[in-house]
């Protein structure tokens, strides 16, 4: 899957979790941080993880990905890093 599509998908899922209105005036790019720019709380990370699993299957496990990070790494976590994480794993096909 081309990178732009994954980014678009991730942005769409973020919108579902935080709400469309949050993105008024914010352009989500690979450099956008989840914590400082989007203000994601720990429970919203979990909601995003659920949606990512529904979309990409069990191989994309955001909770496990964050589980390896310390607090500063989670604060610095960007949309681009999540996109890289998704692309680094084989996307589960429906076949």
């Amino acid at each position: 899957m081309p990178e732009s599509n994954v980014l678009d998908e991730v942005v769409r899922l973020i919108v579902e979790v935080v709400g469309e209105d949050v993105l008024v005036g914010i352009e989500i790019t690979p450099a956008t941080t989840f914590s400082d720019d989007l203000g994601l709380e720990s429970i919203e990370f979990v909601a995003l993880a659920d949606r990512l699993r529904e979309r990409y299957g069990d191989k994309v496990d955001l909770v496990a990905f964050l589980g390896e990070m310390d607090i500063d790494q989670i604060m610095a976590m960007t949309v681009g890093r999540l996109v890289d994480h998704i692309e680094a794993r084989p996307v589960v096909s429906t076949g």
Binding site: G19, D21, V22, V24, T33, F34, S35, D36, D37, L38, G39, L40, E41, S42, I43, E44, F45, V46, A49, V63, L66, G67, E68, M69, D70, I71, I74, M75
Partner: protein, 378 residues
């Protein structure tokens, strides 16, 4: 007769539950004292209450300024700040005063608010039994369980502070929780006592123009709590715009002075508990005290959580069917109008709020908390 010492941070929402419990213990003939920041405690406690100092005005002001910076933070940075810039420094600042208070007052039991970590540190050090007052249940659901390294980071700071492996957020003897299993769930050991809110014995000296309230209107209290009120201008304006188009509604707004239409009354301070008896719904930031005060009066809520434990409390309200949730940063007048219409005119919300009220009543309130505290001494 036993001696109970409450250790509290300089935060209204964390002091209020101890006022009800302390009042009940006093009425039963026990000796009760509070240790914390005297100027914060004095207006919240009945006159003549025994107050011991653990935080002077300068330190309290420093912490207050830090909290102002905190309001600008977002996401996980809020959590980092809470521990590094608030809870741990507050504990260090309060330890000497709490030590003096324990030596002077000689309590049989120390009752420590979950954010007054100096309490358990001193109690362990001096060998006094200590129990936890969880003024918010947010920590009970372990919100960091999905971020184990962050959870470890918190635990490491607690260990360094206390010099022990004991989790000083949770007493092994008794954890008083001022809500009900209906909101929080019931997977807790027996030493977790869910008493519902402890609302009695709270002095309310603030005046209010009661004649302004009209018996024919639906009445709404709008309160963003003691810490967030001044930062809430945008939200307050959107609420005002929403209520302007609702002629059958009166809103009492706890806010700094603002231009408002005739059906909105803006007051900087209100006698909140007394007002609840006249209200039909509450708009809140999701502070645990205000939410439980509303639910204890069977009032449905619109909750717009800002930070900290508030998203968790808001979820509990929505899950119980007792209210609707809005986004504090982004909610527009139209969203607020729709949510307010829902909780005021759809009877399901009020029915669920009354169900929560009943669960609180079963918890037993301050008398039940006092029973459990007496059992710790016995």
């Amino acid at each position: 007769m036993s001696r109970f010492l409450f250790v509290v941070p300089p935060l209204t929402g964390h002091i209020n539950p101890t006022v009800g419990v302390g009042g009940e213990l006093t009425a039963r003939g026990h000796d009760v004292a509070w240790v914390g920041h005297p100027a914060t405690l004095e207006p919240l406690l009945p006159s003549g209450s025994r107050i011991l100092p653990a935080l002077d005005d300068r330190l309290e002001a420093d912490i207050g300024h830090a909290r102002q910076r905190w309001l600008e933070l977002k996401g996980i940075a809020v959590l980092k700040f809470l521990w590094e810039e608030f809870l741990i420094p507050l504990a260090h600042a309060m330890i000497p005063g709490v030590q003096d208070a324990v030596k002077q007052f000689q309590p049989d039991v120390l009752v420590a608010d979950q954010q007054a970590l100096a309490g358990p540190v001193v109690a362990i050090d001096l060998g006094v039994p200590w129990v936890t007052s969880a003024s918010t249940p947010a920590e009970l659901i372990r919100p960091l369980r999905t971020m184990p390294k962050v959870d470890e980071w918190v635990t490491a700071q607690l260990r360094e502070l206390s010099g022990s492996d004991v989790d000083i957020r949770f007493s092994g003897l008794l954890v008083l929780v001022f809500t009900s299993p209906l909101l929080v769930g019931d997977a807790f050991p027996p030493h977790y006592a869910f008493t519902g809110p402890a609302l009695a014995h709270r002095p309310e000296n603030t005046g209010f123009p009661w004649e302004w309230l009209s018996p024919e209107k639906r009445k709404v209290l709008v309160s963003l709590g003691t810490l967030n009120g001044a930062a809430g201008h945008r939200f307050f304006r959107e609420v005002i715009e929403a209520v302007t188009t609702m002629p059958d509604v009166q809103a009492v707004m706890v806010a700094p002075p603002l231009d408002a239409p005739h059906n909105v009354l803006v007051r900087e301070r209100v006698p909140q508990l007394a007002l609840m008896k006249h209200m039909d719904a509450v708009i809140s930031h999701g502070g645990h005290n205000t939410v439980c005060e509303a639910l204890a009066h069977g009032l449905p809520l619109v909750v717009a959580p800002i930070r900290d434990d508030q998203p968790i409390i808001a979820d509990q309200v929505v899950s119980a069917g007792a209210g609707m949730r809005l986004k504090y940063q982004r909610a527009r007048a139209g969203d607020i109008h729709a949510a307010l219409n829902g909780v005021l005119y759809d009877p399901d919300f009020a029915a669920c709020a009354r169900r929560v009220r009943e669960s609180f009543r079963l918890g037993g309130g301050a008398p039940a908390a006092a029973d459990r505290l007496e059992a710790v001494v016995a």
